[in-house]
């Protein structure tokens, strides 16, 4: 049979993730593997731990990459810290909050949900009242909701949870490496993410961090985790070199280490500033076109932009044009936001002035072809923003 060479099309990844990967990361991915018990592998695992800590904003010794995607990270958090007989409270304002709720149900725990429409966030008062009323053992919230583009501040949630003696699980899948996560300062006990968004590595690993307080709770568990693969006690023994557990995905670990080195070289503050600037430029362009953003400015998750689809426009057709005519991937909304928003990632290594301008041009063009008339020049507005931003930087 004829062998057809693997020739993936060239894509500019500006959806909710995966995000663009730098050549250095691909080079690391293709380095020769060593065994999963090789001293060099444990060096790499140690590097990943050291490099992840500042990105999470934590001193947690228990910081590692789970051998699965972001969803495996979520399941690791839930399956290790929620068990039957517990009450777990979820702040639910988007798809991934609901996914946490579903995982809690599957663990057989009692689930309490505080629900809000997709696109909104919870106030400090709402957080306090809910937790005080439900007295849960575990509280979960999504820091950066990939389905809506909302950033949920976790401070009040963590304070109220700790007062109630509860642990806090935070989903930082879309925030990690894109905006400050501040695990320790916020008081998050367990945070998990993925490799392919803010960290700009291909998908396949789930960075996770666990506080000493959560580890105590883990030791006090009544039943064993239903999952052997994601059992944090066994995983820690393996990554500390004490006991075999599974064969770690060596190549992916190489890539993650390289992606984290790039972040360290850029500097977290520089990275967050870059992503913030490009987010603002994009919004300037979007609003100049006459589109509105779903999420109010103060609640926006900078790396994940959700402009509303103009009335009368089929978002799928616009996305198809972007993909087929320009090789640009963006995604649409789903659930209650299906057909109502675009989901546009300007994150990780993909957050550049060049990409913002390219995308605004492409969006302008696709919308016109679908019969919608942008109000003003989006690219011009973004360029003007960049000019001002550069000037502000010069003026210091």
């Amino acid at each position: 049979m004829e062998h057809s060479l693997l020739q993936p099309p060239k894509r500019l990844l500006m959806g909710p993730g995966p995000s663009p990967v730098e050549p250095r990361v691909y080079q690391a991915l293709a380095k020769p593997i060593v065994g999963h018990l090789d001293p060099y592998f444990f060096e790499v695992a140690g590097d990943i731990r050291r490099l992840l800590q500042p990105v999470f904003g934590t001193a947690n010794e228990y910081t590692l990459a789970i051998s699965g995607t972001g969803t495996a990270g979520m399941e690791t958090a839930v399956s290790n810290f929620v068990e039957a007989g517990m009450t777990a409270a979820v702040f639910s304002n988007g798809y991934f909050c609901e996914r946490i709720a579903e995982m809690i149900r599957r663990q057989g725990a009692s689930l309490k949900r505080l629900a809000k429409p997709w696109g909104e966030a919870f106030s400090d008062g709402e957080a306090r009242d809910f937790i005080a009323a439900e007295k849960p053992h575990v509280v979960a919230f999504v820091h950066g909701e990939t389905s809506t583009g909302v950033l949920q501040n976790g401070k009040a949630i963590c304070e109220a949870a700790h007062q109630a003696g509860a642990l806090v699980i935070a989903d930082v899948v879309t925030s990690l490496g894109n905006v400050p996560v501040n695990v320790d300062e916020t008081g998050i006990d367990i945070a998990y993410s993925c490799s392919q968004k803010g960290l700009a590595c291909p998908p396949g690993l789930a960075p996770l961090t666990v506080s000493p307080r959560a580890l105590e709770a883990l030791r006090a568990r009544k039943s064993s985790n239903r999952s052997f693969y994601l059992d944090l006690t066994l995983l820690n023994d393996y990554l500390s070199g004490r006991r075999y557990h599974h064969t770690a995905p060596i190549s992916m670990c190489y890539a993650l280490r390289e992606a984290l080195s790039i972040i360290e070289e850029e500097g977290l503050e520089n990275r967050f500033r870059r992503i913030h600037t490009n987010h603002r430029a994009f919004v300037a362009g979007i609003e100049a076109m006459g589109l509105s953003m779903l999420v109010p400015e103060a609640l926006r998750l900078r790396p994940l932009n959700t402009p509303c689809v103009p009335a009368g426009i089929d978002d799928a057709k616009v996305r198809q044009r972007l993909l087929n005519e320009r090789g640009i991937e963006i995604l649409g909304g789903f659930g209650p936001l299906a057909g109502k928003v675009f989901r546009i990632g300007i994150m990780g290594a993909g957050s550049t002035e060049e990409n913002v301008l390219l995308l605004l041009d492409a969006l302008d063009d696709a919308l016109r072809k679908e019969g919608w008339r942008p109000r003003a020049d989006a690219r011009g507005a973004a360029e003007a923003f960049y000019g001002k931003a550069a000037q502000a930087a010069v003026n210091g």
Copy 2:
């Protein structure tokens, strides 16, 4: 902070896995990623399905790669097909059988074990009697036991299980791509493996196949799978393009597709013959040295060789020499076989005449340095075997 370049040491991987990876597979790994909902990704997933089927020896439509390592494959099999209230029977003659048993316990099912010493296999009669006595809902066995080097024939197990109305789970982690697995012919309902042994791809994916009969049982489950990440119903919806479930590890899927293409090009029969020949040459060398194989010839798992450590020799010192002086990884035994056997993989792309001779030389040298005197020339014996094998091929 100084960036230290990722420079993994060069290793010849001749342990139980990961096994050596060909340059083409690394090249595929480093190709630019597309999104997890990109039409191209679904093409790749379709290719993986098509290329896996003959390697598994199955026509099962439900054939895919789980986004985790071999252990995730095992957990997928157990968590989807074993639930509380069921009886599950395990044939236990090694570490990975015991791991399946542990996963069954964690699912809350009733576990029945038939145990034998590590290094032995189960006879047809033993298989039939055990299953007839226990009347389980699910039967699990390990086709290729990585901890012992034993190949367990599954024919009688499957026949007895089906007579009892039970499903059969087979661990083909070390056998897939190295020896015939024959899922359909044997009657296996669920088989799982890993990417990094017989398939010669880096670790990170778990190929899995499910029979139509098992899918019916899945639909009839009483409780939902505790695992959302490994829920086969959700996974099937995703890989069929019907519904988002998780962000597949795109790069790893590229690599697996390439590794499977290489297998298709070589031809399964050629591949199995190559691995058989190199196994026999290695055994000829080992026996010429004066070492004995743990497993009787008829039960040997060809890709995973377990020669006994000579009396008075510390196997860890021999392995250290191989790693430090030659860059060759082999592993030792563990559990009841700790210190008693070497575990030597001659599998996948690593099964070559060159590697067999290199390893015999290195082993001869390391054993001598540890004070043991090989009886005769191992390399010479292997070379003689190859001469004979070549002659036999010429004589046809």
